[in-house]
């Protein structure tokens, strides 16, 4: 098992966080949050990966002693995707309301709260 998937997960996380820090568009910022989150998918799947020909843990067409990848992390990733979809949808709907009613999606135009 190489270190490559772990490095990729770290890189995706940093790319997402960098985007969150520098973004001037809230739609993009929410997208960057989703990018940062997808690093968790990569990490979890990398953890569950087993070498020597392990396949998906669907036993309908497999012998019960066939080598399979770890099903637990796959369940975690599914849950994670549901959580992420909820949060992304909710945040995007807030951005839509902001655009509709106040005409901006630039976080630097929001100056009502400081100090």
């Amino acid at each position: 098992m190489s270190y490559f998937p772990y490095l990729a997960a770290g890189w995706i996380l940093l790319a997402g966080l960098y985007g969150l820090v520098t973004s001037r568009n809230l739609v993009q910022a929410v997208g960057c949050l989703a990018v940062a989150q997808s690093s968790t998918y990569v990490l979890l799947l990398a953890i569950g990966y087993r070498g020597n020909g392990a396949t998906a843990p669907v036993f309908s067409d497999l012998p019960t002693d066939a080598p399979v990848v770890d099903p637990v992390v796959q369940a975690l990733v599914l849950t994670d995707i549901v959580v992420g979809a909820t949060v992304t949808a909710l945040l995007l709907s807030l951005v839509i309301q902001l655009r509709k009613r106040h005409g901006t999606v630039d976080p630097e135009d929001l100056t009502g709260l400081r100090g």
Binding site: L33, L76, T79, V83, R101
Partner: protein
């Protein structure tokens, strides 16, 4: 260990989460057809049902015992399990009970609060409140790290929606976005940490991970870089939720703009759940031989707590937007709770638990009373409201009492909590009680100053300092559409009852004693591990004293006097006088850091976590 009788103690755990979830679904559906009073009554019934369920759970668990519920009957075999577990000890149950009581209070407070659209959206607000309750109760009761993440995100997502509930104003949307982006980013970092722990141990339950790390340590594979990185990542979520500096920036933005009933929950109990999460995860997973040494964790968390407390107190004093002031006071107090939890011993934790209970009453009451101001005058600005609320005598009296409770006046529960925590902290560092007195005096003093100005009209109207871009609190949308009406009875009654609750924590000896036993059982890591994995729990060590001492009363009176002194000095200060050099050198840069920019907040999240990692690694 499920028992055969129809409603065993273990069955109450999933029920405590299921009742509000079910209630939310029923309200979302039936709310469209019911008239307004029917909806509110239905919400109150569901909230009361959860209070009853958790009170029963509290009554049925022994002071030093735990209730364990393996969902779906997937109990462990030979110490291993693939099931998901809920574990309730008295501290977790107590916190969940606090959540339920506050939700009930908020449902009653909001009885006539919103001019809610009827028809299709009827019942959405109470339904969201119940969903929020389910998330918070689940987080307090779960014994599984991944479930903790899911409940964390559940309460997070509902809280973002509740914060941005009033979309007519850009500020709630701004606050909700800052809240959502920072908290969810932190939650995903936590999930990365959970993944690393799973990779190392193959377990997801708190107790199972802790036991597996210990076994590895016993076999000679002790702590390494992965465990330290996982520790920092897993704690990212709870630390951000707890608004520990420098992760606190989202909190004042969100609390200043959320509807007042929602603020009562956010400040009263949600933020404190973050401290609970830090303490629980550290204690069960990382406090053993395979985790991190206590001394290292203690010093690091103490530093974070002191920084948070001081930043919160200083910023609280600077505010004129009342809700933002109360939000920064929450930051200051959470810093003190974090100090109590960071001592990693029963006495500190006992103090923090009593303090949290007292603070929840006082802070929720203050937010509730501020809601009355917002309702009546459409403003929460200390300067703009100067003297305008003289007519609301009873409300003013309660507000001042709440401010004194924040300052730690005996015999309020906040005073008792502060006394117990600062005595425990004094054993570790003789200077720590100074932090407690100073933070209580500054936060209490700021609120007292605002109360005397708004309700008493004391002092000259303050002048503006244009050098700082401050959040003013003028021009807020009133949350109710009948300006000038008498405040509805629940909006007065609920804050009054909450203050009575805060007082009760300080004067009823049983509360402190029960929480001391709960905190002692909480620190009994071996007992948690064996009892969760199916073994018998051993006897817990003796609980510390949690009652008033002469020094505690003295320091409580001192901080109250200081608060009164600060408030008087601020009111008597000549409004034409400028600001000093010290202010310009220290406070002004700190205020400028609170820029309201989402990018800055995420940058601080990354910087803070890097600092935490460096601080821990340097000490190992």
């Amino acid at each position: 260990m499920s028992t055969p009788d129809p409603l065993g103690t273990a069955d109450l755990l999933p029920l405590a989460v299921a009742i509000p979830l079910l209630g939310a679904a029923v309200l979302a559906v039936a709310g469209r057809r019911l008239p307004r009073p029917g909806r509110d009554a239905l919400a109150a019934v569901w909230a009361a049902a959860d209070v009853a369920c958790l009170a029963l759970l509290w009554a049925r668990t022994a002071p030093d015992g735990r209730a364990v519920s393996w969902l779906g009957g997937w109990t462990p075999r030979g110490g291993h399990s693939v099931g998901i577990v809920l574990v309730a000890d008295r501290l977790g149950t107590g916190l969940a009970l606090l959540v339920a009581v506050l939700v009930l209070a908020v449902v009653c407070y909001a009885w006539r609060y919103f001019d809610e659209p009827s028809g299709e959206h009827g019942g959405v607000f109470p339904a969201l409140l119940l969903l929020f309750e389910a998330g918070m109760c689940g987080f307090a009761l779960t014994g599984d790290l991944f479930d903790a993440f899911v409940f964390f995100e559940l309460m997070g997502a509902v809280a973002y929606a509740l914060t941005g509930y009033r979309i007519e104003d850009p500020r709630p949307l701004h606050g909700a976005l800052a809240f959502g982006l920072v908290n969810s980013a932190a939650a995903y970092l936590s999930l990365l940490g959970i993944g690393l722990l799973y990779a190392r141990t193959g377990e997801l339950g708190l107790a199972q991970i802790g036991a597996a790390l210990d076994q590895r340590a016993a076999a000679g594979h002790g702590r390494d870089a992965l465990v330290v990185v996982a520790f920092v990542l897993v704690l990212a979520g709870p630390l951000v939720k707890a608004a520990s500096a420098p992760f606190h920036f989202w909190l004042p933005d969100a609390h200043a703009v959320a509807p007042s009933p929602v603020c009562m929950l956010l400040s009263g109990v949600m933020v404190e759940l973050g401290v609970y999460g830090v303490a629980r995860i550290h204690r069960v997973v990382f406090a053993g031989a395979g985790g991190l040494p206590d001394a290292v964790v203690r010093d690091t968390l103490l530093a974070a707590g002191v920084l948070t407390a001081l930043v919160g107190a200083v910023m609280c004093w600077q505010q004129r937007h009342l809700k933002r002031m109360l939000a920064f006071s929450t930051v200051g107090h959470v810093g003190l709770f974090l100090i109590g939890a960071a001592l990693l011993e029963p006495a500190g934790l006992t103090g923090a638990a009593v303090y949290v209970a007292g603070h929840a009453g006082a802070k929720a009451a203050l937010f509730g009373l501020t809601g009355v101001l917002l309702d009546r005058y459409g403003s929460v600005d200390e300067h703009g409201l100067h003297g305008r609320a003289r007519e609301l005598r009873l409300i003013g009296l309660l507000f001042v009492l709440g401010a004194l409770a924040l300052a730690g006046l005996p015999p309020f529960g906040t005073g008792l909590g502060k006394a117990v925590t600062e005595e425990a902290a004094g054993h570790w560092g003789g200077w720590l009680p100074v932090v407690f007195v100073l933070v209580s005096a500054l936060t209490g003093g700021a609120v007292l100053r605002a109360g005397l100005r708004v309700f008493g009209g004391l002092g000259a109207p303050p002048s503006e300092h244009p050098e700082v871009a401050a959040t003013t609190g003028e021009g807020e949308e009133p949350e109710i559409r009948e300006p000038g009406r008498r405040p509805p009875a629940p909006m007065l009654l609920v804050p009054a009852l909450l203050l009575v609750g805060c007082l009760a924590v300080g004067v009823v000896p049983g509360v402190g004693r029960a929480l001391a036993a709960a905190a002692t059982a909480f620190t009994d890591r071996a007992g948690y591990l064996t009892e969760t994995l199916g073994g018998p729990g051993g006897p817990a060590p003796a609980a510390p004293e949690a009652w008033w001492t002469a020094s505690g009363i003295g320091l409580g009176l001192l901080s109250t006097l200081l608060a009164v002194g600060f408030a008087t000095a601020a009111i008597r200060r000549d409004p034409r006088r400028g600001t000093g050099g010290l202010y310009r050198a220290t406070v002004l840069p700190l205020r400028r850091l609170h820029s309201g920019l989402l990018g800055d907040y995420v940058a601080w999240l990354a910087v803070g976590l890097a600092a935490l990692l460096i601080a821990l690694t340097a000490q190992l």
